[in-house]
């Protein structure tokens, strides 16, 4: 490990918690990734945090990025080449207000012309982006956001705190209907957002929350121009590296490179390296065929079957990435028989996790415990993967059945949608749970049919997307306040909620991990979900494209991609 380049005093000047985290890192109690994340969270620049973390890369951890833009990636080898066109296959939806985005596809369009205050990279570390840095108070209730100077929108106006305040105003305006409103529930309207000067914004949180930087990279959180009127297609103004030339819903989108973008490339000239981006709207099957035949260069968020079809195609490079995306087996704890923890536990025990992962995802993912915390989450507490135990499950069910005076097998209906790998998980579980005393009927509908009732079914499989922090997802689905919204199981637990609130306000990684250990135990012991695996996702792109990054939320990060024919 290289010698530290700044002193403890300098670290302490940035934030008093950083030296402590540094000690934990040097003692091997937290990983390098966790140290970098925590140091950047507390306001240290990413480049300094990387330098403090030492130059030697632990094998399992990707390199962190320079400070100038955020995303991590190994520096491109060889000479950068400019020019060329990138063509992607992706469903192009109706777009209007970026704050109202509900799908990543739309965000991938908007992120080419607009940008975020922060960026959570493929390594799940969040760094400043349009921000130069942020600073959090010791109680994590006051956040100072410092904007970079000299950033210009594509209409020539400079980015200032007024634009950021306008954007916060849109997020916090219930009439706009942004999902940011719920995410930023710790802000009491615009009175919690203070403009200190033209490049300095201060957030006053009602309750402590360590997730502010990650929230600012939630996909609808594009920073808008202060004169934005509500339709990004009619008014494609942003600070991004491309300009929108054409957008036809369901057909295609065309972007051209901007000459005066603020970030510089390796060759000292403004990014991006590519001249043009074209998205072609196709369904997934047509996209696979187009990629195989070379008509497009990449395919948005390939399904496991697409991965199988494309992984051995010459000329394509597959980049896998672990995620916190999962397909949760969720049980309504306010309804029989799931109100009895023995039944819930029995069904969890009936998951043959390696087999489910193999059948549903061709083994491409990470096995999981029955909790909604993923190994990619900072402060994840390592636990043993539960074994398939149909005998144990049957013993629990027999006890339950004797008490209720019913006969086994216990007949239940499992609802889900025929979308990603849900039918495969459902069919595998039906077979595996038969040995445990369950007789599962399957109710598999099209995605819209399931989303209409996803919070209402007794037993279901629901897909949950990646979130960089466990503390971002747990309050959405496992607290009392979320009943009626996204708490699809109606499960809440006083001890769990108290610990969760504690975790949300705990900066120290080790201390937070200790809390996470307890939270994971509670979810496993009496929680409402089974979770066999965390999905891997893949970026599959033609080999001539260099510096391509696979992001766990399938974001297209294309500003520093270049072509080497």
């Amino acid at each position: 490990m290289k010698k530290n380049i700044i002193s403890r005093e300098q670290m302490e000047e940035v934030h008093p918690q950083i030296p402590k985290a540094y000690d934990q890192f040097t003692q091997g109690r937290i990983s390098r990734r966790e140290f970098i994340r925590m140091a950047t969270l507390l306001g240290m620049s990413a480049s300094l945090a990387v330098a403090c973390g030492g130059g030697e890369e632990p094998a399992a951890e990707p390199a962190a990025a320079p400070d100038t833009g955020g995303e991590e990636a190994a520096a491109p080898t060889g000479g950068i080449k400019r020019g060329g066109t990138w063509t992607g296959s992706m469903n192009l939806q109706l777009l209007d207000h970026p704050a109202r985005l509900s799908w990543v596809e739309g965000a991938n369009i908007v992120r080419q012309i607009g940008e975020y205050l922060t960026e959570t990279g493929p390594d799940n570390i969040t760094r400043p982006y349009l921000l130069e840095k942020w600073e959090a108070s010791a109680d994590v209730k006051t956040w100072d956001l410092f904007l970079r100077k000299g950033i210009k929108f594509n209409n020539g106006d400079e980015l200032t705190a007024d634009d950021v305040l306008f954007t916060f105003g849109e997020w916090l305006n219930p009439d706009v209907g942004s999902s940011m409103l719920g995410l930023l529930s710790y802000l009491k309207g615009m009175e919690s957002v203070e403009k200190v000067d033209d490049y300095h914004i201060r957030l006053h949180l009602e309750t402590a929350n360590i997730g502010v930087p990650e929230h600012l990279f939630h996909y609808p959180a594009i920073v808008l121009h202060r004169d934005f009127e509500g339709d990004i297609i009619k008014q494609p103004v942003g600070t991004g590296a491309f300009t929108l030339e054409e957008y036809a819903e369901g057909e295609r989108a065309v972007f051209k490179r901007r000459e005066d973008y603020w970030r510089m490339g390796e060759d000292g000239k403004p990014l991006p390296y590519l001249d043009e981006l074209i998205y072609v709207s196709t369904d997934k099957d047509a996209g696979v065929a187009a990629l195989q035949s070379g008509q497009v260069d990449t395919l948005y968020d390939p399904r496991p079957s697409d991965f199988q079809a494309l992984k051995d195609v010459p000329g394509l490079v597959v980049r896998p990435v672990s995620t916190a995306q999962c397909l949760v087996l969720r049980m309504r704890v306010d309804l029989e028989p799931w109100d009895d923890n023995r039944v819930r536990t029995a069904l969890k025990m009936c998951q043959d996790r390696p087999k489910i992962l193999q059948l549903a995802y061709f083994g491409e993912g990470d096995l999981s415990i029955d909790a909604h915390m993923a190994p990619v989450h900072p402060a994840y507490c390592e636990k043993d993967i539960p074994k398939y135990d149909p005998e144990g499950a049957k013993a629990l069910l027999e006890e339950y059945a004797a008490e209720k005076g019913i006969e086994l097998p216990l007949k239940v209906t499992l609802a889900t949608k025929n979308d990603q790998a849900e039918p495969e998980i459902a069919q595998a579980l039906k077979e595996q749970a038969a040995a445990g005393g369950f007789d599962i009927s399957l109710d598999i509908t099209d995605p819209a049919g399931y989303w209409d009732r996803w919070t209402e079914v007794d037993l279901g499989i629901t897909s949950w997307t990646h979130r960089p922090l466990a503390t971002m997802v747990l309050p959405l689905a496992y607290i009392e306040e979320a009943i009626g919204a996204w708490n699809e199981t109606r499960w809440f637990d006083d001890e769990f909620t108290t610990l969760l609130r504690e975790a949300e306000a705990t900066l120290d990684v080790e201390a937070r991990r200790a809390i996470m250990c307890k939270l994971e135990d509670i979810m496993q012991e009496r929680g409402p979900i089974g979770n066999a695996f965390w999905k891997s996702i893949w970026n599959i792109t033609h080999e001539r494209f260099q510096n391509v990054k696979a992001h766990p939320t399938a974001y297209d990060l294309l500003y520093d991609v270049w072509i080497d024919e």
Binding site: S305, A309, L359, P423, L442, I444
Partner: protein, 306 residues
């Protein structure tokens, strides 16, 4: 001069009469080929009731295997034996219908068969009433049926299944509702023709009830064309089950039906092409067999009438 004497008093036995009726099929080469194809799948279905090479729903093998010595038609995306699933898929179409509810009880006759029987019962009842009674009966019944016919068939399926959920009985109901208007039109036209015959006049003069005349006088004389039409409709019903399965709104998994098998295999078509081909081929051969059988039968019946 010797004159051939009629063999008065020597009636053919019941078996001889039955064979005479069946033998008409073998007069037509087309009908014979069609019958052979249908019997092949019936035989496969009956065999599957007692034996399949492997457990159809068990994921016992490597996924997406091509045809091999163990799995004659390969395996699907969940590592299940396609041969066994294809064999069991015949049952739900031709041989048995699962009753709704928690019971495991099935009734003889597949979903396609019961769907066509439902269409026949409903369509014939409405068609005979419209054709024989005429007047307002005819107007009202045919207006309603015309409105149903004007609806796109897939939309009708979707409406029925969205309202009632999945299951064998719901698919039967969907096939019944979509098939009945066509049967009713045919039954009406036959009834309008037959009601002008003298024996109907005679029945009316005898004071027989309307129901008696419709079902005891007209229906037996209309059964030939109706039966041929029903054969064709079994083919349509199999297509309907296949279509519903392909849309993911057919019979609930994991028990196989051919449409669902096509739908599931389609998702992996780029890595396992053969898994799509086998159930598609099964649907095609059974439907073609039924159509050939019906066409040949119609041809022979028409010739017999002339």
């Amino acid at each position: 001069m010797a004159i051939a004497q009629p063999t008065a008093g020597v009636r053919p036995s019941r078996w001889q009469q039955m064979w005479k009726s069946v033998a008409i099929i073998f007069e037509s080469r087309v009908a014979t080929v069609g019958l052979a194809m249908v019997l092949f799948w019936l035989l496969i279905g009956f065999i599957s009731l007692v034996w399949t090479p492997h457990e159809p729903n068990a994921s016992d093998f490597i996924q997406n295997l091509p045809p091999n010595g163990t799995n004659w038609l390969g395996t699907d995306h969940l590592g299940r034996d396609i041969t066994s699933r294809l064999m069991q898929g015949t049952q739900v179409i031709l041989l048995k219908t699962r009753l709704p509810g928690d019971s495991e009880i099935s009734i003889p006759g597949g979903v396609a068969i019961w769907g066509v029987i439902g269409s026949l019962v409903l369509g014939v009842t409405l068609g005979l009433n419209a054709g024989y009674r005429g007047g307002w009966w005819d107007q009202i019944i045919m207006q309603i049926l015309d409105a149903l016919i004007a609806f796109p068939r897939i939309v009708l399926y979707l409406v029925v299944i969205a309202a009632l959920g999945q299951g064998d009985m719901v698919v039967i109901l969907a096939i019944t509702i979509t098939g009945a208007p066509g049967v009713a039109r045919l039954a009406r036209s036959l009834a309008m023709d037959i009601k002008t015959r003298d024996y109907i006049r005679a029945a009316e003069t005898r004071g027989e009830s309307v129901r008696y005349i419709m079902f005891r006088e007209i229906l037996p004389n209309a059964r030939g064309p109706l039966l041929v039409d029903a054969m064709l409709r079994v083919g349509y019903a199999i297509f309907a089950i296949g279509t519903l399965g392909f849309l993911g709104i057919g019979l609930p998994p994991p028990d196989p039906d051919w449409g669902n098998m096509v739908n599931e295999a389609r998702r992996n078509i780029f890595s396992n092409q053969t898994a799509v081909i086998w159930p598609s081929l099964a649907i095609a051969t059974l439907v073609i067999g039924l159509n050939l059988f019906a066409d040949g039968l119609r041809e022979e019946l028409t010739r017999y009438q002339k």
